[in-house]
Symmetry: C2
Subunit: 251 residues, 2 copies
């Protein structure tokens, strides 16, 4: 079975290139690629990718020849996730899963019940997680990561935003699937998901005032990271599979 | 904000009861409940729950008075998940998330590309994870856990099963949401999800022969544990939220 190894390579350009140490280890040790083997190099931050061929392997050094970069053709769903600040490892798994499910932007919002109050988002760390998730899932871009910002401060600005605005609420009457029945992929969506303890009644009211409809994911209580990705999955489940049937490597 | 603590208590019966050590620690130390405080005791294996009141706290000992058990009213979706055997911690997270999303049964199947081949499922361990997930999500039952069994051996038996049979396939043309458009909650579904490396072409063919339709969750490659729960989320997203708005405690 042919497998296509994807390698993150920032600042792609055609021609001979020596791989950074981490990438060299990845292709030559993890995947045991050698001289003449091919892989896909991608730079999700500029949405470019290109075919590459290894031309020299010398201990820890790997040189390759890159073809002309092309625009990556897999993009996000059109969904911005406003995620209530959650404890560190939960945020990691939200970034990882949301990237693979095609979220376009992830804004961390501080809410009344946010237990975690990151003074300064570990943006570099989350970006690395997103890039690694993009590599694994075959995505040609990465979601924008923003925040943290206070929900109360940013919510009013969504009043004027033309998008399908949804707020996950445990007691909502309307199932999420009903609310997105007429959604077509790429149409802008803003999805608000509370932190561990949920949104307060006041925050839910403020969301309604800014045009957010309350959406349910069934009668069970979902942990915040599961709620976010379950909602995103309802959008991903509206899309056909990939055209290229060459399986990516899943580690 | 009123919070209802849920405590797993096997063999529920009305009357005075001394809590097992673990549960005593959970109510008196983790949640700091004391004399007179109330909680919900539940036994998901018999689908019963009841209201309980603490009547004595003495160091590590907690005694309570249980009211008459009632049938738990939250049940599963009607979905059986056939999950390709995955490495241990991935299986843990499938059990945890699938329980919270309402799966009815989880059968671990050994496939051609299963890296993990558990000789003997750690059923007790997985059952404990499912019970803990049921406690957290407010579910009154737990999914049946079965397997491992060879996919090739069990697949033909599904030919005669009257259910909506779906097989997640990365290159499927039909989005999952389209295939479940006419599904109503509780209608039987069998959902087949491959292991880390996916199903082989032969397994996909055998699934088709047994009446499984190929379903897509978008163009990106999802890790096996994410694929399973993303598919389940598409079903959960068809259900309204809970009627009782008392929030459960989420840790």
């Amino acid at each position: 079975m042919a497998r296509r190894v994807r390698v993150y390579l920032p600042e792609l350009h055609a021609g001979r290139s020596e791989l950074p140490r981490e990438q060299a280890h990845y292709v030559s040790v993890v995947h045991r690629l050698g001289n003449g083997d091919r892989f896909t190099a991608f730079d999700p931050e500029s949405c470019l990718e290109c075919d590459a061929q290894i031309v020299e392997v010398n201990r820890a050094r790997v040189a390759c020849l890159l073809e002309a970069p092309r625009a990556a053709d897999i993009r996000g769903l059109g969904v911005t996730l406003l995620q209530g600040a959650a404890k560190g490892d939960r945020l990691d798994s939200v970034v990882r899963a949301a990237t693979a499910l095609g979220v376009d932007a992830l804004r961390i919002v501080l809410t009344e019940r946010s237990v975690a109050h990151p003074r300064e988002m570990k943006v570099e760390r989350l970006r690395a997680i997103a890039i690694e998730a993009a590599r694994q899932c075959g995505r040609g871009d990465v979601p924008r990561l923003e925040g943290p910002e206070a929900l109360a401060a940013c919510l009013p600005s969504f009043g004027a935003v033309r998008a399908l605005k949804l707020c996950l609420t445990p007691a909502a009457h309307e199932p999420l699937a009903n609310l997105i029945r007429d959604w077509t992929p790429g149409t802008p969506v803003v999805l608000l998901v509370g932190p561990e303890g949920g949104l307060s009644a006041g925050e839910e009211e403020a969301a309604r005032a800014s045009g957010f409809a309350e959406a349910a994911l069934g009668p069970l209580t979902l942990r915040t990271e599961l709620a976010a990705l379950a909602a995103l999955a309802c959008f991903a489940g509206r899309l056909p599979g990939r055209v290229d049937t060459t399986p990516d490597v899943e580690e």
